[in-house]
């Protein structure tokens, strides 16, 4: 009897379900009034945290595929990246609506004057074209340039970590854990090169 192997479709469906958990969590908190004393802060932190975590998971897929010789990591990489971008958009939307009251003038001021906003916003700008060109059509159209373009994910990930480190009031372990993971992922890639 041949061993049962999950199909690509199953793997992608499982990935979708797992990545949707933080979204479901937030929806549940909103519906049941469990966002805590400072609900906007809770949503900002939750969305930002998952954007960064899923970005790191995305970056871990190709080393995982290479080292473990599994096929599935590459089959869900695009989806993971898009989920990360989705949480990043939520993060930015909460900030723009509730912190800045939708004022673009305030946004401009913050981007220019607050380094942690500058780097966070830069990460958003770098990741936007990657999300847009994540389709197969764009991959074909851009050919070799697609790969080059998508290397922007590395500086974006660094900026995202810096954004988090600069935001916290005293040094806390969490952002440094993410930065360490990122550096390990870089090291794995460099070793191959």
């Amino acid at each position: 009897m041949p061993a049962w192997r999950p199909s690509t479709g199953h793997i992608r469906l499982l990935c979708f379900a797992l990545c949707a958990i933080p979204l479901g969590q937030a929806a549940w908190w909103i519906a049941s009034a469990q966002l805590g004393v400072n609900p906007i802060e809770t949503l900002t932190h939750h969305s930002g945290q998952w954007a960064l975590r899923l970005l790191l998971v995305t970056l871990a897929m190709s080393p995982l595929q290479r080292l473990a010789r599994w096929r599935w990591p590459l089959q869900i990489r695009r989806q993971l990246g898009l989920w990360s971008f989705f949480y990043l958009l939520c993060h930015f939307a909460v900030y723009l609506v509730f912190d800045l009251s939708l004022s673009l003038a305030r946004l401009g001021e913050e981007v220019l004057e607050r380094p942690y906003i500058t780097v966070g916003f830069a990460a958003l700008l770098l990741l936007t074209p990657l999300a847009v060109t994540s389709t197969r059509g764009w991959q074909r159209r851009l050919r070799r340039n697609w790969k080059r373009l998508h290397r922007l994910v590395y500086p974006a990930a660094v900026l995202a970590c810096v954004h988090f480190i600069w935001k916290v009031k005293v040094s806390e372990p969490e952002p440094f854990i993410y930065l360490t993971v990122l550096l390990v992922l870089f090291a794995v890639r460099l070793r191959r090169a």
């Binding site: 805590g36 400072n38 906007i40 509730f98 912190d99 009251s101 004057e113 005293v170 040094s171």
Partner: protein, 263 residues
């Protein structure tokens, strides 16, 4: 300030009070952890009795006092103050306690006393003390004229209840025109000094936190704007007021001072 129906003196222009639940479950008290819910989660281990208050330095009537005995002899009153955290959130809080100035006068500060320094308890078995980089005890200080301002207050209660541990039991400072970190909690020592005392956040990040730490929407924290704040209970941010809305009472303390330099 006007008096409310509950007999509280309202120094917050009739703004709605934050709930006891909000005030006691979301705040900073780094001895118990750096998360906003850490104080509520971990402060229950703090033992309040006995509690000795040491008063020393440039004063004639210092000494070690049983704090509970000491405050039992003082008349108390209720005051509603705004509290603005340096992080950009704020609350409106009904404290019970007594004015700081007359309390300090009991210890007969001498002419040399130009500042007053405060220290928080350090109890390794009862506190987590795991925030990195902080040299305990937590320290704060005021210039004497700031301490003597009628707004400066010592709180021993909150909402008709004894002050909860996470909010700084048994006694904490409340300086409503300064960022919340100036309002030091769980005080064990008061010291009158001739020179400006060291203060914890200034020691940690001198560029970001000055000795004065007056609420000032025109002087930003180096990393974030102080122009607006989120009042807990509201979704959108509102404008921060100069001296947290207490300019009339305290602006004169800083006449002629460059508030960009003395932040």
């Amino acid at each position: 300030a006007s008096t409310t129906r509950d007999g509280r003196v309202d120094y917050a222009d009739g703004e709605a009070l934050n709930s006891f639940e909000d005030i006691t479950s979301y705040n900073n008290f780094y001895e118990f952890g750096t998360g906003k819910s850490d104080p509520a989660r971990y402060a229950h281990t703090l033992e309040l009795k006995p509690w000795t208050l040491r008063v020393d330095g440039e004063c004639e009537a210092g000494g070690d006092f049983d704090l509970h005995q000491l405050i039992a002899t003082l008349p108390s009153e209720e005051r509603i103050y705004r509290l603005r955290c340096v992080e950009g959130w704020s609350m409106v809080i009904p404290w019970r306690g007594f004015e700081l100035g007359p309390f300090l006068q009991r210890f007969a500060p001498t002419d040399k006393a130009r500042y007053v320094a405060f220290e928080t308890a350090v109890k390794p078995k009862q506190m987590r003390l795991n925030a990195s980089g902080i040299d305990w005890p937590y320290r704060e200080g005021l210039r004497m004229d700031e301490a003597m301002n009628p707004l400066s207050f010592m709180a021993t209660g909150l909402y008709d209840k004894p002050l909860p541990r996470q909010n700084g039991a048994p006694m904490r400072l409340v300086v409503p025109w300064k960022y919340g970190f100036k309002s030091i909690k769980s005080i064990v020592r008061i010291r009158f000094t001739a020179s400006e005392p060291q203060t914890t956040w200034n020691m940690l990040q001198p560029r970001e936190y000055g000795f004065y730490a007056n609420v000032n929407p025109t002087v930003d924290h180096p990393r974030w704007s102080q122009a607006r704040e989120r009042r807990i209970g509201e979704l959108f941010k509102r404008d921060t007021l100069m001296f947290n809305g207490y300019a009339e009472q305290v602006a004169g303390l800083y006449d002629g001072m460059d508030l960009r330099k003395y932040y």
